[in-house]
Assembly symmetry: C2
Homo-oligomer: 246 residues x 2
DNA sequence: CTCAAATGTCTATTGATATAGACAACCATA
DNA sequence: TATGGTTGTCTATATCAATAGACATTTGAG
């Protein structure tokens, strides 16, 4: 349906091989090559994008480095991995449940935690006094062993003391909340933006420079409407999409 | 709150000057330089990013080309423009109303229209027989003279004959629907992804290569739940953000 | 086995990217 | 008006990105 043009842009700060790598990665994610399970031959791609075969080879080498394709001499370039998780954003948004059966293994890895005073902006969002103590968790979310997002989440410390340990034990915010007596919570608001991956994204999400991250800023409240969590989550854009059902 | 690291990535297909231009553009949009109304001096930026001053100058030249900054010899580099529109996504999502008073002038420019048979995918979404006639509108949306998004929208032709003229007259989908007897419609589902700008985006949205677009795929229905419109809209990522209120 | 098709490797050349240094031009202000 | 801070311009050099061509190697099919 939305095919897009074939042409790539020259001499504008993004190397041709990277533009082409991005395009091929997207095509793989869209299932354009599912019929064969292979990427088209290098010469065909070179003709399609209007570049030299060596330029296409640079692009494919980058994709091979990411583990997306595997070149086989004499046979062609096989597609190794192809996925784009769909994330529903709704009143009861849960990371793990949102993935559902799109992945077998889901895990949340706690990178770092701290208790710290709330900045003015954060205090306003969590409706606590400025400088009040908040718990900050840094989490990398994985599905089938692939990092799909990294979150920084803040919680009012007074109400949720012990949250860090509860999260460590369960690997789930929902479960950790449950242990601390909060059986249900609701998504009050979500903001979505997109930007280029920063160095933290490259490291934690194993992205390549120039990659895109989808950034959500979300506020969760309890059933009374009292804020319980504010989180900034950065998703690898070529591994996820969001859906909002009304 | 989310500050991000300073370092840029070398030799990975995205030129340093472009990475730096993207970072500065984002900082401007975030209001990081609002205190002075100016970008930091070239030498300071060079030190911050760990590059040569000439590389920073290339980045600033690109931003000046976009009309975002204006260098003034002897004074510094002034910020010309800084904006990020917020778009609510909700049950009654309207482009023009969504902008609200964030911009004075809003317009929708009809680039192209056609009547064509529905593809299998489109037919499924609009719940019409495959090959049934649909109207396709290509629209560029502007706010205060700046292009913020471009849409491709499909409508069942049988029900909405004359839509093109109605849109031309009013510049609004909502108004065009109204003329054809549809007084209300609802957003049934929205998918959001992000990708790099393609050549069409560069032209229509006046983006620079490597820029990011937020892509929404949305289905609108009438109050009976019958699909009336399917639209793919590509937003310039550094000019907008989305909000979902629950 | 032979051939066509595909990826792998090598050399060479051109233009874009990045660094480095020096100095000119301009502005605000002390 | 003198000075420090800033952008503007120029030259030079090294590395990366892209093109071009030739040929080797591997695979699958006839």
């Amino acid at each position: 349906m939305d095919k897009g043009h074939s042409n790539v842009q020259r001499q504008n700060g993004v190397a041709l091989w990277r533009q082409i790598a991005d395009r091929i990665r997207t095509s793989i994610a869209n299932g354009d090559y599912d019929a064969t399970g292979k990427v088209p031959p290098e010469m065909a791609l070179a003709a399609e994008f209007g570049v030299n075969r060596h330029t296409v080879r640079s692009a494919l080498a980058a994709l091979a480095q990411e583990g997306i394709v595997r070149p086989m001499q004499g046979r062609g370039t096989l597609i190794e991995r192809k996925e784009r998780l769909t994330f529903p954003i709704r009143r009861r948004t849960r990371f793990i449940e949102g993935i559902g059966d799109q992945a077998r293994e889901k895990e949340g890895l706690l990178l770092h935690s701290a208790e710290e005073p709330a900045s003015a902006e954060l205090a306003a969002r969590l409706q606590v006094p400025e400088g009040a103590s908040v718990i900050r968790l840094e989490i990398v979310r994985k599905a089938d062993g692939r990092a799909v997002a990294r979150s920084t989440a803040w919680f009012p410390a007074e109400r949720f003391r012990g949250l860090e340990q509860a999260y460590r034990d369960s690997g789930s915010i929902t479960a950790a909340f449950g242990k601390l007596g909060l059986s249900d919570y609701l998504r009050a608001a979500t903001e979505i933006t997109a930007t280029h991956a920063d160095s933290g994204d490259l490291a934690d999400l194993k992205l390549s420079p120039g990659a895109i991250v989808l950034v959500t800023r979300a506020l969760n409240t309890d059933t009374e409407g009292v804020p319980v969590q504010y989180a900034i989550t950065r998703f690898a854009a070529d591994r996820v999409q969001f859906t909002i059902e009304n």
